[in-house]
Symmetry: C2
Subunit: 287 residues, 2 copies
């Protein structure tokens, strides 16, 4: 049971976390904090938070856990802002999709006083954003990766683990570097491809025609291109090395596939398509 | 009303067409034909067809419409096989995803006697294949593109148009070349990206890890990589020029995006992501 939880940034992720914990009666009071009063008022009206504060001192007063649910790019400045108001007992966690940058920001702001910081990342989301899109079941049966540091306290880690388990998620621990590599492959790369594809088609001469003839497969394939541009900008800027490395692997593979199509290399085409289908079917069965 | 319809290749598309026409009482008898008796028996048991024939003469006897629902790569040989058994009144149509190759095959086999040939392509499907995956609503509110030739008879065109309209589809006519360009952009290119991505990840060292951490967005994005390898091989081989041209446009765009990530070009990243999101959101509203 968390007596008081403060969420900085009450959007899809922060809002869904609050809803899940409230549904499970696992939290006493949820305090929302953020820059946009209209969004906070919305969250209050929806019953996602119990009150909101625009003053950080009031938002962080006597709170047990503070969740940073903001785009990764503002993590550093948010950490700098909350530092003077933090109670020593307060546990800090975040939900960012690139952990290296978040940990670096935390080290810059808090130095070695990081016992109560538990970097986290729920691998869940939709292409929508905002508290209106939040729902209590978002994390159900999804993975949450925690990347504790050498001096993260066991108690703090345990509290954040329990918090996510309460939402129905499977919690796992991994290293910061491994997290960033795996996410570059499974999430950041696909988003880059979807954004690039839709943008390539949208800037063609007969784009209206093209989108008119797109079918269901295209809809599914490009859904993630509706994701929040600012959030994805921040992820690109903070996980740049891993994403560029994955893009280079992918682009070399795509180049080979292109050449096989150009030369009519049936064996190569069948081999790639068959291997991909097998892996994708296996993935469907496992998950 | 089509008195007798012969479907060569009773899989997802052929089976769904038969189901839709039967549901609408728009066909007298549906005759299935194909190489695999087990599949045909299955189609019969499921009530998708009324009888099946393995002999082409029997399958085509006194039939009004024959639908070639086979992979594009075997179109030529199937056309050669049916030619001696065709009744002059029989209308021929197909469902192939690359129309240039199909029309070329038809011209090679039938010469100028093409009045009763109506090239067609229902832009519908799922990543599944086989008659077991067929359902009557597959074409509902989907587009069917017909690419009639200069000497296609108006009566034949009208029959095929009505047939597809009966399934609930929106039927449009376009040119062979335009069809192949648009499909390369909206269907063939996305499939290449999905196949290449899943294959790139599947051949990595820690592929198990990687797929374990894939989330909902990845599932949607890669669903089309479960599509039939032989069918996609055939599409690549028959629409190679348009696909390679689209891949080249896309790869140049992706290279620019990669460089923007590498150099931290925030303006470029935000511009691409914002434009893509806007186009994708617009597409969702329109369709």
């Amino acid at each position: 049971m968390i007596n008081r939880l403060t969420i900085i940034g009450v959007g899809l992720i922060g809002g869904s976390l609050a809803r899940a914990l409230k549904n499970a009666h696992a939290v006493g009071e949820v305090v929302g904090c953020g820059r946009n009063i209209e969004h906070l008022q919305n969250a209050l009206t929806l019953g996602v938070i119990d009150r909101y504060e625009t003053d950080l001192g009031a938002a962080l007063h006597d709170t047990d856990v503070v969740v940073l649910a903001v785009p990764v790019g503002v993590t550093l400045s948010v950490m700098q802002s909350i530092k003077p108001h933090l109670d020593p007992k307060t546990i800090i966690t975040d939900v960012g999709s690139s952990k290296g940058a978040v940990v670096q920001a935390a080290q810059q702001v808090f130095g070695d006083a990081l016992e109560n910081f538990v970097p986290g990342h729920p691998i869940a989301g939709t292409e929508k954003s905002g508290v209106e899109a939040s729902f209590a079941e978002l994390f159900h049966k999804r993975r949450v990766l925690l990347t504790p540091l050498a001096n993260t306290s066991t108690a703090a880690l345990q509290t954040i683990r329990q918090m996510w388990e309460t939402t129905g998620a499977f919690v796992e621990e991994t290293s910061v570097a491994h997290h960033d590599d795996v996410l570059a492959a499974t999430s950041h790369l696909p988003h880059m491809l979807a954004f690039a594809l839709v943008d390539a088609l949208a800037t063609m001469d007969d784009k209206v025609e093209i989108f008119r003839y797109a079918a269901g497969g295209f809809r599914d394939f490009t859904r993630i291109a509706s994701s929040d541009p600012q959030m994805w900008h921040d992820i690109c800027v903070t996980n740049d090395k891993a994403i560029v490395a994955m893009l280079d692997v992918f682009m070399a593979d795509l180049e080979r596939l292109r050449n096989a199509i150009k030369t009519g290399d049936s064996d190569y085409l069948l081999q790639v398509f068959t291997r991909a289908k097998k892996a994708r079917d296996q993935f469907s069965m496992d998950s």
